[in-house]
Amino acid sequence: MQDHTYRSTDIAADAAEPVQTAPAAATAVKRPEDYGYWQTQFKRVKKYRRVLWFIIPAALFTLIFSYIPMLGVLFSFKGGDFNLLRGGVLENLFTGEWTFQNYLDIFVDISFLKGVLNTFIINIFKLLICFPLSIIVAVQLSELKSQTLSKIILIIICIPNFLSWAIVIGTWSGLLDSQGGVLNELLVMLNFIEPNYFTMSKDHLFKFFVILLAAWKGTGWGSIMFYAAIMAIDKSFYESATLEGANRLQKTWYLTIPAIMPTIALMLVLNISGFMAAGFEQIYTMMQVSEELEETQITLDTYIYTISIVNRTNIPFATALGVFNGLISLLLMLVGNAITTKTLHRSLW
């Protein structure tokens, strides 16, 4: 496919290049394949000389705000009393001693291990609860007879996705407030809970609320992708299944789910690629609202943020943590991409 477009545009746009028809003429005129790599590239640069500068602004932004920070990796190899925020960064780079100690410290840091554990627990529960929930909602929506109704419902359940995390958390902590929160009062009235029990600031309920709020915010929007995939299934499959006497549950299980399996697999891989992050804004805001949980409910993102930006204690170590985190994410992405290209013939990017 790509080769074909290459040929056709090349021939169409570059009239100076003769079209080869007879094999006898091959010796007289060079074909594109006969040029060396650099010659071909030079010809192309000449052809596109008026458009190529379009890339420069984006390339510059990427260079300054993505590549130059990557040099900051060097700070993680600095030890001792190295201080980044006093004096120039570059000056400091030449003063302290070079060491690998920061990377070795990662593996004996209790808070880091706790952070990894919490991040993984949250992500696994999100994968087990939020992810299937959006598939279920999409299937349910597609089963409705009236498309208008399903679209109205979709419009309503997508609303929370467009609110910021601060608003989502504010809404729920307002409802669950032990002093006058409506949901809290309601649950107490129905004798479900004791007052002051069901709040975000309870240690054992924190992860539950993380998952609950993530599901509340993301399920509607998450189901859109699956809904679109289900809508693209050929309706005649359903008709023949109906003629064969399949009921709705059977049609869903044996027809809908297998048909959207590629979409499910793709989203699953994308999900797993982001396993090192558990939603910094959400969790840090929830911690701030509940005030006391920073020790036990720490995640990787919030740990790095706390030790570097809030406390400013050990910045080289925090940099090392960030680099380590980035490398693991990179690994997960590459593995995920390898899986999707192999099974779905589709690259993640």
Partner: protein, 303 residues
């Protein structure tokens, strides 16, 4: 020959009747979905009613305001909070506008030459962009960059860090690849130069894609406050985006005020500020509705 004409208003006699099981399932399905709608709407209605209620009645507000008052709104829009709130609102407008326009323009421009199959060094340039999507060195190196540039405690740090958006670049590139080259040939024959070609031919054709990317940029930059938490100190109040203001209001860093009215009515104030902050999002929500109605074509591409 006898010919029967079907009555179009009569129900199809060949239709297979649904079993009882299917009907029960369908009803259950509708009930569950409506329940989900209630779960989504109830917290929002209940919480936003607080903004219009007297703080003495807070525990009785269920679905509509009790003890109607606009005290919270007056406090935020005209009272003590007014300068802080309006300043944050303005900051958010600037951040959102600059990110949306510059980011999408820059990425679309870069995507145009890269969408040509015989663009020189295409693979290398794409790799240059994609690497930044795959690996980042973490928050501290970029914090130090902003420190060196003197942009800490300045909204421009939040803007500049969000300009580069490789997923949008890939998105535009895929779309531009689908534009037939004949159209560009025709424009070239009519004497269009490259800039005219891009802005008068390619961009208008790509408007649906550019529109949806702009929409996601607007929502993303309006709602996010993670980068503001990194680069902007809580004490630099003139440089806060609105979402950061809401976050600070929520996390009780702001309640160290001696006014007993404010301490009692903090929930009402939060509710009012949050409702005010989602007004711009409400303004563009019709776009979401249109997008969902028009068959979600983008969703299937973006996956």
């Amino acid at each position: 020959m006898e010919k029967t004409i079907k009555n179009p208003f009569k129900k199809n006699p060949n239709k297979i009747h649904e079993s009882m099981f299917d009907r029960i399932l369908l009803v259950l399905n509708v009930v569950l979905l409506l329940l989900f709608c209630v779960v989504v709407l109830f917290p929002l209605l209940s919480f936003f009613s607080l903004g219009f209620s007297n703080s003495a009645f807070n525990s009785q507000v269920v679905l509509y305001p009790r003890g109607w008052t606009l005290w919270a709104y007056r406090y935020i829009l005209m009272g003590e909070e007014a300068t802080y709130f309006w300043r944050s609102f303005l900051n958010s407008v600037i951040i959102t506008a600059v990110i949306t326009i510059v980011s999408n323009l820059v990425e679309a421009m870069a995507a145009y030459p890269l969408s040509k199959a015989d663009c020189p060094f295409r693979g290398g340039i794409m790799m240059y962009f994609i690497i930044t999507m795959l690996f980042s060195a973490g928050v501290i190196p970029s914090y130090l960059l902003m420190y060196q540039l003197g942009l800490l405690n300045n909204i421009w740090s939040v803007i500049l860090i969000s300009i580069s958006n490789v997923s949008n670049l890939l998105f535009f590139k895929t779309f531009f690849e689908g534009i037939p080259s004949d159209i560009e040939e025709a424009a070239r024959l009519d004497g269009a130069n490259e800039l005219q070609m891009f802005f008068l031919i390619v961009v208008p054709m790509a408007l649906p894609v550019i529109g949806s990317c702009c929409f996601f940029s607007i929502v993303g930059s309006w709602n996010s406050y993670g980068s503001a938490m990194l680069y902007i100190n809580a004490s630099a109040t003139t440089q806060h985006p609105l979402a950061y203001y809401i976050y600070l209001l929520l996390s009780r860093l702001e309640t160290v005020k001696n006014d007993p009215d404010v301490v009692a009515g903090i929930r009402n104030l939060q509710s009012a500020a949050m409702l005010l902050s989602i007004i711009p999002i409400l303004c563009i929500y019709p776009y979401v509705i249109k997008y969902i109605k028009n068959g979600l074509t983008l969703g299937s591409v973006k996956g």
